[in-house]
C-alpha cells in the first residue's frame, strides 16, 4: 500500500528527476497516512455506525412498547439487536469517533507536524472498517450474541477482537503524540485539556480494551472447541456487557470532558479557571473509570458465578467518587463562564448540553450502587448508559463544530448543528428519564423471552417505553442533522484561521492546515499561548494609545 504522510523535517528536494504526481481521488484516501485524512475517515465511518446503532435502538425501543409479545421483530432477532445497539454505539461509534477527532486535532494542539505513528493510525482505520463490516455481516448471518449459527458467532467474536486491537493501535498513536511530540515550551502541565484527556482516557482504554480482548479470546476458543464453559452464544454478551456498566462506561466519556474544557474558556474569552486542577480532575475521573475488575465471574461448569464486587465497598465508593471530578469540572466551567465575557457560540451550547448529560449519567450511576435501590439490572442502567453515550456524542459534536475549520476547512452550519444537538439532548434526556422510571418499576435491562416477568405496573411501563422509543427516534434525528452538517458544502469566503479567537496552538495555523501543519510555531509559555499573545498585543496597543493621548 502506498502511504503518504506529512514530512517531519522540511528538507530541500535533491536535484534529479521530478517526483511522480501525488495520488488523487480514492488513491489519495486509501493510501493516506495524513492524520487529518485518517481522522476524517474515522469520524465519517463512526457516525454511520452510530446512526445504524441509533436505528437499532429505536427498533428495540418500539419492541418494548408491548411487553406481551414480539411485534416489530421476532424474539430471536430482538435479543441480538439488543446486543448490537450497545456494542455498535460504543465500539463502532463513540470510541472511533473520539479517536478520529483526536487523530486530526491532537497533533495541531500540541504543535506537531503529524501523529507519532501515521501508518499505524491508517492501518488501524482500515482494520476498524473491515472488522466493523464483518461484525455486521456476522449479525446478518444470525451470529451476534444469542445467535443460532455457531460459526457466525465465532466470526463475530474474532472480528470484535480485531476491532479492539485496531482501536488500541490508533490510541497508542494519539497518546504517544501527546507524550513525545509537544512543541518546545509545552510541558505536560501546559498541554491543552483535550489532548490531556486523550492521554488519560487513552491510557485507561489501553488498560481496558486488552482485558476485553482477552475475555473475547476465551469466548472464541470456548466456542470453537466446544467446552461451553462460558455458556455458548448465549454467554457472549455477558462477557461484553461490563463495558456498558459503571465504572467502565465512564472511560469512554473522559475525552468528552477534555472537549468541553477546551471549548468553554474560548467562548468565555478567558483562561480556563484553574487549568491544573482541571487536569487533575480529568485524571481522577479516568482513574476511577478503570473497571475491568467489575465483570461477571468465571466458573468451570459455565454456571453464573456470583460477582463479588457487586455492592462491595470499592464498587460503591467508585460510584460515588466519580461524582467528585465531574461536579468539580462543572464548577470550574461555571467559574470560567461567570468571570468571562460569554459568547453563546454553537460549540459552547453543545458543550453545555454535553456537560448536562454526562453529569446526569454519573449521578444516575451513583444511584445504581445503592443496594436498596436495586436498579442495576433494570432499565435504569440503560438510561444511565444512554446519558453517558449520548452525552459523549454531543461533546464530540461540539468538538467537530469547534475544530471544523481545522478538520474540514469550513465552519459547520450553525442552525443545523444547533438543531441536531438540541434534538440529541432532548431525545437522550427523555429516553433516559423514562427508562429510568421504568427501571424503578423493575423492568429488566435485557430483553428476555418473557418481557413482563417481574415488571410491576405493566401498563405504565409500556407507556414509558413508548415515550422512550419516541425520545430515541428524536435523538437519532438529531444525530442525522449533525452528520448532515458535516456534509454541507462550503459557503461564502474561506474560513478564517482563527474564527473563535482560540487559545491553543491549533489556531496558530491556517484553516485547513498545510502539509506539516505549521510554518512557524509561537512560543509556548502557558497553557493558552494564543490567549497570552492576544492579551499582550491588546495591552501594548492600549498603553500606546494612552501614551499618545497623554
Amino acid at each position: 500500500m502506498t502511504v503518504t504522510e506529512a514530512p517531519r523535517d522540511v528538507v530541500e528536494a535533491p536535484a534529479g528527476p521530478a517526483p511522480s504526481t501525488p495520488p488523487t481521488g480514492l488513491a489519495a484516501v486509501v493510501g493516506s497516512g495524513d492524520p487529518r485524512t485518517v481522522g476524517k475517515l474515522f469520524v465519517g465511518t463512526s457516525l454511520l455506525f452510530l446512526l445504524m446503532a441509533g436505528v437499532v435502538a429505536v427498533l428495540v425501543g418500539f419492541e418494548r412498547v408491548d411487553l406481551s409479545g414480539f411485534e416489530v421483530v421476532d424474539s430471536d432477532v430482538v435479543r441480538q439487536l439488543f446486543t448490537l445497539q450497545s456494542t455498535a454505539a460504543v465500539f463502532l461509534g463513540i470510541l472511533p469517533l473520539l479517536i478520529g477527532l483526536a487523530t486530526a486535532v491532537v497533533p495541531l494542539q500540541v504543535g506537531a507536524s503529524t501523529v507519532a505513528f501515521p501508518r499505524a493510525s491508517a492501518a488501524a482505520y482500515w482494520t476498524f472498517l473491515a472488522s466493523g463490516g464483518v461484525i455486521l455481516a456476522a449479525y446478518a448471518l444470525d451470529g451476534g450474541p444469542f445467535g443460532n449459527d455457531g460459526e457466525a458467532v465465532a466470526l463475530f467474536v474474532a472480528a470484535f477482537i480485531a476491532l479492539l486491537v485496531a482501536l488500541a493501535v490508533a490510541t497508542v498513536s494519539v497518546v504517544t503524540t501527546v507524550l513525545t511530540l509537544r512543541a518546545p515550551g509545552m510541558t505536560l502541565r501546559r498541554t491543552p485539556l483535550f489532548s490531556w484527556s486523550m492521554v488519560v482516557g487513552g491510557t485507561v482504554w489501553l488498560l481496558t480494551l486488552p482485558v476485553l480482548a482477552a475475555v473475547m479470546l476465551l469466548v472464541y476458543v470456548d466456542l470453537r472447541y466446544g467446552q461451553q464453559f462460558l455458556g455458548g452464544s448465549d454467554g457472549v454478551y455477558d462477557r461484553i456487557a461490563w463495558s456498558f456498566w459503571q465504572p467502565t462506561v465512564y472511560v469512554f466519556a473522559v475525552p468528552a470532558l477534555g472537549i468541553i474544557a477546551d471549548v468553554v474558556p474560548v467562548f468565555a474569552r478567558r483562561r480556563h479557571h484553574r487549568h491544573t486542577t482541571a487536569m487533575a480532575l480529568i485524571g481522577l475521573f479516568g482513574a476511577l473509570a478503570f473497571g475491568a475488575w467489575a465483570q461477571i465471574g468465571f466458573s468451570v461448569d459455565g454456571q453464573s458465578d456470583p460477582t463479588d464486587w457487586l455492592y462491595d465497598g470499592v464498587w460503591i465508593a467508585v460510584g460515588f467518587l466519580a461524582l467528585v471530578p465531574v461536579v468539580g469540572l462543572l464548577g470550574l466551567w461555571a467559574a470560567t463562564l461567570g468571570r468571562g465575557r460569554v459568547r453563546l457560540g454553537t460549540p459552547l451550547i453543545l458543550a453545555l448540553f454535553s456537560g448536562l448529560l454526562i453529569g446526569g449519567g454519573v449521578a444516575a450511576g451513583a444511584v445504581t450502587v445503592i443496594e436498596e435501590a436495586n436498579v442495576l439490572t433494570t432499565t435504569w442502567a440503560s438510561g444511565q448508559e444512554l446519558l453517558m453515550v449520548l452525552g459523549t456524542l454531543v461533546a464530540a459534536a461540539a468538538g467537530l463544530a469547534f475544530w471544523a475549520p481545522k478538520i474540514y476547512g469550513k465552519l459547520l452550519p450553525d442552525g443545523l448543528v444547533r438543531l441536531g444537538a438540541t434534538l440529541l439532548t432532548l431525545g437522550a434526556g427523555v429516553a433516559a428519564v423514562t427508562y429510568g422510571i421504568a427501571g424503578l418499576y423493575d423492568q429488566p435491562r435485557s430483553i428476555a423471552l418473557d418481557a413482563t416477568a417481574g415488571v410491576s405496573e405493566i401498563d405504565t411501563v409500556e407507556t414509558l417505553n413508548l415515550v422512550a422509543a419516541v425520545g430515541l427516534a428524536v435523538a437519532v434525528a438529531g444525530a442525522l442533522a449533525v452528520a448532515a452538517a458535516l456534509l454541507a458544502p462550503k459557503r461564502g469566503r474561506a474560513v478564517a484561521d482563527d474564527p473563535w479567537e482560540g487559545h491553543t496552538l491549533e489556531w496558530a495555523t491556517t484553516s485547513p492546515p498545510p502539509v506539516g501543519n505549521f510554518a512557524s510555531l509561537p512560543g509556548v509559555t502557558s497553557e493558552a499561548p494564543l490567549y497570552d499573545a492576544r492579551y499582550a498585543a491588546a495591552s501594548a496597543s492600549a498603553s500606546e494609545s494612552a501614551e499618545a493621548s497623554a
Partner: protein, 203 residues
C-alpha cells in the same frame, strides 16, 4: 577539519536543525507493551480466580490425568531471564558504540528467545491431555500459546532492530529502537513470570 569563515558564511542563512524526535518509538513500545501485558495478565487472572473457586469448593483443580511438569516451565523461565540479560547487554553495547558485542548480544537474545518456544511445546507434550479435554486444559493451552505469540512478536521486534543495527541505522546516539525492543522483551519476560507462577508453580 577546521571550520573556516567561508563555511560559517555558507551556513549562516540555513534554518536551525529541528530537535530530534524524542523517544517516540520507546513511548509507543511502552504503551503497546502495557496493553499486551494486560491481555495476558487478564487471562492469568481468569485462570487463578477459577482455580481458587474450584479449590475453595474442596475439589481438585487439574484433572487426574493432567500433568504440569516443573522442568519445562522452569527451563522456559530461566531461558527468558537469561535473554533479558543479553538484551540489556545489547542495548548497553550499542549505546557505547561497541558494535561487535552488540551484534553478539542481539544474536544470543534471539537464540534464547527461540529456545524458549520448545520448552513450551515440550510442556504441552508432557501435559498428558489434549487442549479440548477440559476447561482447565483449554485455559492452559490458550494462555501459554498466547504468550508464545507475544514472545514471537518480541523476537520479530528484536530481529528488526538487530538488522537495523547491522545496517548502521542504530548507533550509540540513536539506539532508541533497540531500547524499545528491549522494553517490550522485558515486559514479555515479566508476564511469563506471572504465567509461570500461576500455572507451573501453583499448578
Amino acid at each position: 577539519m577546521a571550520t573556516t569563515s567561508a563555511d560559517i558564511e555558507v551556513f549562516a542563512g540555513a534554518p536551525a536543525a529541528e530537535p530530534p524526535r524524542p523517544r517516540v518509538l520507546l513511548v509507543g513500545a511502552a504503551l503497546a507493551s502495557g496493553a499486551a501485558a494486560m491481555l495476558l495478565l487478564a487471562l492469568v487472572a481468569v485462570y487463578t480466580s477459577m482455580r481458587a473457586d474450584v479449590i475453595a469448593g474442596g475439589e481438585r483443580w487439574l484433572p487426574e490425568d493432567a500433568n504440569v511438569q516443573l522442568s519445562p516451565g522452569n527451563m522456559g523461565m530461566v531461558t527468558l531471564l537469561m535473554s533479558a540479560v543479553t538484551v540489556a547487554w545489547a542495548v548497553y553495547s550499542l549505546r557505547n558504540d561497541d558494535r561487535v558485542h552488540a551484534y553478539l548480544a542481539f544474536g544470543l537474545s534471539i537464540l534464547l528467545g527461540i529456545a524458549y518456544i520448545p520448552t513450551v511445546v515440550y510442556g504441552w507434550q508432557q501435559f498428558g491431555v489434549g487442549a479440548t479435554s477440559s476447561t482447565q486444559a483449554l485455559l492452559i493451552f490458550t494462555i501459554t500459546g498466547l504468550h508464545v505469540a507475544m514472545a514471537g512478536v518480541g523476537l520479530l521486534f528484536l530481529a528488526v532492530m538487530a538488522f537495523r543495527a547491522l545496517g548502521g541505522q542504530l548507533t550509540g546516539r540513536a539506539a532508541e529502537g533497540a531500547a524499545a525492543a528491549a522494553l517490550y522483551w522485558y515486559v514479555t519476560v515479566a508476564v511469563y513470570g506471572a504465567v509461570w507462577y500461576g500455572i507451573t508453580i501453583t499448578k
